[in-house]
Symmetry: C2
Subunit: 385 residues, 2 copies
Amino acid sequence: MSTSPQESVRRQNLAALLRYVHVRGATSRAELTTRLGLNRSTIGALTADLATAGLIDEGVPHETGRAGRPSIVVTPRSSSVYGYALSLELDRLRAARIGLGGKVLDTRTAERPPGPDTAPTVRALAALVAGMHATAPAGAMFVGSAIAVSASVRHHLGWTDETIASPLASALAPHLGARSPIVGGLADLAALAEHTRGAATGADNVIFVHGDAGISAGIIAGGRRITGYGGHGGEVGHMVVNPGGRLCGCGSRGCWEAEIGERPLLRLAGRPVPTAGAAVVTAVQHARGGDPDALAAVLHAADWLGFGVANLVNIFNPTVVVFGGTLRELYLIAPAPVHRRLESMALAACRDHVALHTPDLGDDAPLVGAAELAFESLLADPLSR
Amino acid sequence: MSTSPQESVRRQNLAALLRYVHVRGATSRAELTTRLGLNRSTIGALTADLATAGLIDEGVPHETGRAGRPSIVVTPRSSSVYGYALSLELDRLRAARIGLGGKVLDTRTAERPPGPDTAPTVRALAALVAGMHATAPAGAMFVGSAIAVSASVRHHLGWTDETIASPLASALAPHLGARSPIVGGLADLAALAEHTRGAATGADNVIFVHGDAGISAGIIAGGRRITGYGGHGGEVGHMVVNPGGRLCGCGSRGCWEAEIGERPLLRLAGRPVPTAGAAVVTAVQHARGGDPDALAAVLHAADWLGFGVANLVNIFNPTVVVFGGTLRELYLIAPAPVHRRLESMALAACRDHVALHTPDLGDDAPLVGAAELAFESLLADPLSR
């Protein structure tokens, strides 16, 4: 059955309104009227439909101190409309229940079961979700789930999106039903989160560079996620910056991650190299405390961090670069070498409007980004469910 | 006045239909019915409106040899609906009159007047257009103009889009009226052209690497042009690939264009270094003829070409890379080193589906791409003029 033009416009307006309050939070009807370019009676009809569907609340705000009748405020029902967001990293698993509007309602963390087999990891992820699901309020509305997978998991374990998606869907089905989790890259989803509600809000050209055992980037260009043909874009860790440099795990020499990744940093600092990113935080603390080996390693990595960022700035002409994971620590202790390289290597036209940041959402950025994917089908067509 | 939902849907359908025949050429009404998901009477009403507006022709095809009534064929009126496309390079100016459907109707070329002042160049470009405009058929419909500006012009002359756009608009106004020309990057527009009707048709993730005095890239990601915040994205020539390498004009050391640009190539080949790209074609011919210095220079540049392409493939995960300008010659004479670097340096997941090409549209790619910009407002809303 084809949809009438009127119905199609109504659906577009419902989607635009729900997305607006999902991203901006509580909003007055007066503001919605202005922002969406619709008249008051149309806004009233749309909010009534969304309230009936249980997606928003409407209410009169508390005393505003201003004269006149206050405009009714529309609020996303964060506590009763939610998705599950998962994160799969080399050394740990995370899961969160996140409400409409991006509110983190519950989080769980576990170590990743060791070994190259996906089954124990999938079981552990499902257990985290089951634990949260058991305590979710009765009658609350589950809208979808998504998982952020670190590029290091792909490289070090050889797992692909396909090898994770299907067993995870089966493991979650007893709890969540047949709707499969959506898979995304960890840096991609962190970029999406910071772009939607973090350090890069309002910026259409953003690079989120994430460091763990490897380096990868999430890229927003022209306001949209750039992931490449097979979703493998953003493998900036294997951009070769130093042809005479160290051998990388991928077989090339002088890859960016062979200069700024956690393993080379720890090796250069004379530290043992475990698989946990926490060791980098410790090394950075030692550098801050004056340990000369740790400081030399940190300055080396920060210099090369700026080097690679300058390349990316010349390629993408972004306005915001965000440093996440271990790179957050590295940038915070040694911002000067990063800025110096950027100044000397990036073209003025490309770097003139760029700002360097750490994530507003901290370590939660990949989870909040995964939740954006989980909400996507609801936000695209709110009443189709 | 607000537009009714019905009228808004009709305009979207008119735009979709005109864009389809603009990109695909002559198309039967039967195919349009299928491709646009509309019924026969709607298609008939839309094509009648577009025919009345002088944008398309409808006709019965010649004998098809098949039984039954042949479907009426819809053809863009290439000869009487046109835009002007200009190209501003370091050493030459080009201009074309290009018909709806991307048909090149007329082209002109001139040397760029020497010197750092924009005025003589703007006058020369306007003269090329005036010459073509005088011979355009009476009653033909001019829909817009655009200019492709080489990144080398920005770097070597310091000209910006703003310093070119405004005087060019003034110089063209006596001939073309008040509609200002749109400015785009030469590699960006070449990428758009090859994506729309060339070697990258159907590919959503494309890199067009263009070589002249410098190296720049046009990038299509997720089906859309990626140009960055200020339109300066794609400055891949200043991606540093060799930190210990040659000093680049930008002040950095080891930029990609300092390894594969036409000047270093000619210098390494022991040739004088003029400003014209034709000298590179000659050097490549000498290499083909067995000249050892020219061959060594070509192999060196081809090796580094593959090196930088591998970096870009890791960053963008494209399916098509197109080599234009002097890089076309370089790739054609020495494809093996390029493929070898790509195989050894790019991650399998990123390079698995990538194909390397030269431009289907040859040297016309930037002009055909500029024409796409010139047609954009017509294609977005065909009857609004």
